[in-house]
Symmetry: C2
Subunit: 189 residues, 2 copies
């Protein structure tokens, strides 16, 4: 039974998202991929709202079971880090409101998981994403490829926790989450 993972590369100008189904045996299949964009000249709260509306459509249409989100550091690019963090906050809220667990992965964790080394460049990551998912060409733009890489990373590293958010709509593991957790435990023995 496959686990459906939504990866999100957060941002206000381009917020990448990618949904994959992953078998416990690590085989992964693309479900959907894309980018939510908002205009630079809009007030910031409208940009945050636009990202949220776009991601809500993805959550409602493709019903992922877990969300993998890029971990944002305050030390990153100062001109974009606040927007990235604000978008991350909304992703966390929308996920938790649906009872979905959120796991955070750093860019180097994602690169290491997907390509084998943590300092791979964007092109290498996109090429590996295409190979893992059996796509004819790397997904574009880079934000979309990064979102799929996050989802793959989450699936391959094993979730830090798969328990749904207590008191936020999900009280028990879904069958897929349970199967996944069991496969994860088995693979560690």
């Amino acid at each position: 039974m496959a686990l459906r993972v939504l990866g999100i590369d957060p941002g206000l100008t381009r917020c990448g998202y990618g949904v994959i189904d992953v078998e416990p045996g690590r085989r992964a299949r693309l479900v959907t991929v894309g980018v939510v964009r908002t205009e630079l000249d809009l007030p910031v709260e409208q940009r945050v709202h636009g990202v949220a509306v776009g991601l809500e459509r993805v959550l409602d249409e493709f019903t992922p079971e877990v969300v993998a989100l890029e971990r944002v550091f305050a030390q990153q690019n100062l001109s974009t880090v606040m927007g990235t963090a604000q978008a991350s906050g909304v992703v966390m809220y929308l996920s938790a409101a649906r009872g979905l667990p959120v796991t955070l992965h750093t860019p180097s964790e994602v690169k290491a998981a997907v390509t084998g080394y943590g300092s791979a460049d964007k092109k290498q990551v996109a090429n590996m994403v295409a190979r893992v998912l059996g796509l004819d060409s790397p997904p574009t733009p880079a934000d979309a490829a990064d979102a799929l890489a996050l989802a793959i990373c989450h699936a391959w590293r094993g979730p830090a926790r798969v328990a749904p958010v207590a008191g936020a709509g999900g009280a028990a593991l879904t069958p897929a989450q349970r199967a996944w957790a069991e496969a994860e435990r088995a693979s560690r023995r």
Copy 2:
């Protein structure tokens, strides 16, 4: 006709909120004030969700017409800035989803507006908040007083824009927003 302003001092550990009614003649009245708290040891998405649930109650019960939010800078305290930015993102989303305009004010703008100088300390700000609102003692904790100071600052500095968010539920100014905008224009002549 009074304008109802919600001030928010964003944060995950303590998120201060304060609602005031302000007459065009600058007289301000306290409507409600408080703090939403979340536990430090919860997963971050549950903390963000907890802040959102608390603020949604305030928005729904007290129906403010504008939201004044502290502007967060990436250069601030690194250990808390990401949580603060994530909480800000959720405030922006919740406000925009209700068609409420959000204005951002820096801490020194708030201090200058309320006390007359931008480097006032927390106690001076809290004392002036109490005086402006006719309270017997300064509101506590500091996050609650700061939220009220943000609301007062917003009302006194004049909103950068009072137009509700286009396409997000509010198409026209409310009578209070219109009266306020007119009073603002008149005071600038």
